[in-house]
Amino acid sequence: MGTNLFEKIWTANSVMERPDGATLLFVDRHIVHDATSQGFDKMEAEGHSLRRPDLTFGLADHYVATGNSTAQRKPSFDQMVSRLDAESRRWGFDSFGPGSRKQGIVHVAGPELGITLPGCVLVCGDSHTATHGAMGALAFGIGASEIAHVLATQTIWQRKPKQMRVTIDGTLGQSVTAKDLILALIGKIGAGGGTGHVIEYAGSAIRGLSMEGRLTVCNMTIEAGARTGMIAPDETTISYLEGRDYAPKGEAWDRAVAHWRTLVSDDDAVFDREVVMHSDEVAPMVTWGTSPMDVLPITGTVPDPSVAGSDDERKRISHALDYMGLTAGMQLTDIRIDRAFIGSCTNGRIEDLRAAAAVVKGRKAQVPAFVTSGSGQVKAQAEAEGLDRIFTEAGFEWTDPGCSMCVAMNGDLVPPGERCASSSNRNFEGRQGRGSRTHLVSPSMAAAAAVTGHLADVRKFTGSRS
């Protein structure tokens, strides 16, 4: 019986086992950010020091100012950002803060800098660390005590998760993106559908995705409750990495590439669960409720709670519609929005900004809208391509990189009761600010909503409807 991609990395990084069944994994890459200072506090309180500064990297993202005009900032936000900088100087690890071209959201900048490599075990104190699995890494989010443990030992105790393979075959329809694929999958298996599993994505639709698209798919794996997502490295991965800041060079690069080519699930590898989907089924998607699984094609209507399968589900849907201020049966395209946000670790990459700009070009934003690049490099690239001017000429704000309105921790927020078309990943109650109402969409769908003032089918803006 063959082994799958997950098992290959798990075995290669297993240091030892404990009688209670937990495995000690060696951590090849640990990324810390400006909301993980508690980990350093705990490490020091227990009298330890940072064991491997060379394998530790810092990126400021959650609390950084983006220059968004509606931000409500507090001085304590800047203190969180400078705290990370202070830790990096104290312990001697590389860290990038505001102003550095290398700064950005951990899950955008990490892959982009070549910190994330195929076959590595990577951890970070953030649930969306699943993103990095798109490069063929085993990457997952951890809590504060675990951060302290990794800082002090460069290892982490884990129980082996089950393995699920999600195969998506086919080609993507017009204006259908990686975001729509993953939203459709979460809609299909549910917000708890991946619980206890790591998911490997396979199939021609996944193979056909760019690196950016693959990162988007793995990013939202956590919204299906899975521990993480993974995609086997291939030519797309290898050419994406070549020449990146921290990527190996010269002879080390050749050796690395030879190894990475072995990181695939064997033909006879076995998974605990298999899910199969066809990309032809997927249209541009939008969420209507307060869980990412509350998702429908943009051509749909707001669901009716009375047709729910169970009493609990009926209550859940009614409560969600109540919170979202929606009426059952209304066309999704009739939902008016108050603002639009393009950015986040799900969709703040160059390809996302290009897709949004293609819709925005020559049109005008009907509501306040802003675009926050996922990293300094994305921002610089977009400016070099003139995308910033397309956005600003259409009345969008063009802001500095960071998590921004995805989580509202830096003061960029959606005011109470307002409705936002957002390219981020969570539509929980209050996620984008107290009382905020979020509709998750792809970046081009967010752009289409911004230029019409309501949720809209992006296919009307990008040529013939399919």
């Binding site: 030892m16 209670d20 200072s37 508690q38 060379d54 304590s76 504060a144 105790w157 050796r255």
Partner: protein, 206 residues
């Protein structure tokens, strides 16, 4: 971590289900550092009015429960966000033990890593304990970790705990300190791993 061998103290009843970590410590306190302490943050939206005056109806504001060190709560305690601040606020306030029918996974792990003993206890027993605490405010609960027993008035029972976690608690060992006892194993692994994957071992910016 402070070792935990046994504990005896006043217990407070809070028999609600699904007490989430947002309720235990609201998000606005997350900017604090561990050193600042989280005692005042514990249940702050339940303990204080918007103007900061203590609420009269919350159990921890009513003597003798204001000096409680054991909390007895409803099922699925600690659900929601993974914030470890929830455990720190309970511990900083003075709690050493939480008794409930069930605990959310992440909270459960976070507690034992911080010397806060969580004791899953059948619902019927929790109900009985809560009636005793309400009928006789100030009743103390005694917990013996080594023997795995809880005594509350006439009632006593034994509880389950993972043997590894039990040992860490008894010795006051944090998982980190324990792992570091295997440092030489880690070092051996590390050097072999580094040799077979040199591109992972020494990342340097170009």
């Amino acid at each position: 971590m402070k070792p935990f061998k046994s504990h005896r103290g006043i217990a407070a009843p809070l028999p609600k289900s699904n007490i989430n970590t947002d309720l235990i410590v609201p998000a606005r306190y997350l900017l604090r550092t561990r050193k600042d302490g989280f005692a005042d943050a514990l249940f702050s939206d339940l303990r204080y009015e918007v103007d900061g005056t203590p609420t009269s109806d919350f159990v921890l504001n009513q003597p003798p429960f204001d000096t409680a060190t054991v909390l007895v709560a409803g099922d699925n305690f600690g659900c929601g966000s993974s914030r470890e601040h929830a455990v720190w606020s309970l511990a900083d306030y003075g709690f050493r033990v939480v008794i409930a029918p069930s605990f959310a996974d992440i909270f459960h792990g976070n507690s034992l890593q911080n010397g806060l003993l969580v004791i899953p206890t059948p619902q019927a027993t929790v109900d009985q304990i809560c009636s005793t605490l309400t009928a006789n405010p100030g009743t103390e609960i005694a917990v013996d970790l080594d023997a795995q027993t809880v005594v509350c008035g006439n009632l006593s029972y034994t509880f389950e705990i993972d043997p590894y976690r039990k040992e860490c608690l008894l010795k006051g060992l944090s998982e980190t300190a324990d792992t570091l006892r295997s440092l030489s194993t880690i070092e051996t692994f590390e050097s072999q791993h580094g040799q077979s994957r040199p591109w992972l071992a020494a990342p340097h910016q170009s």
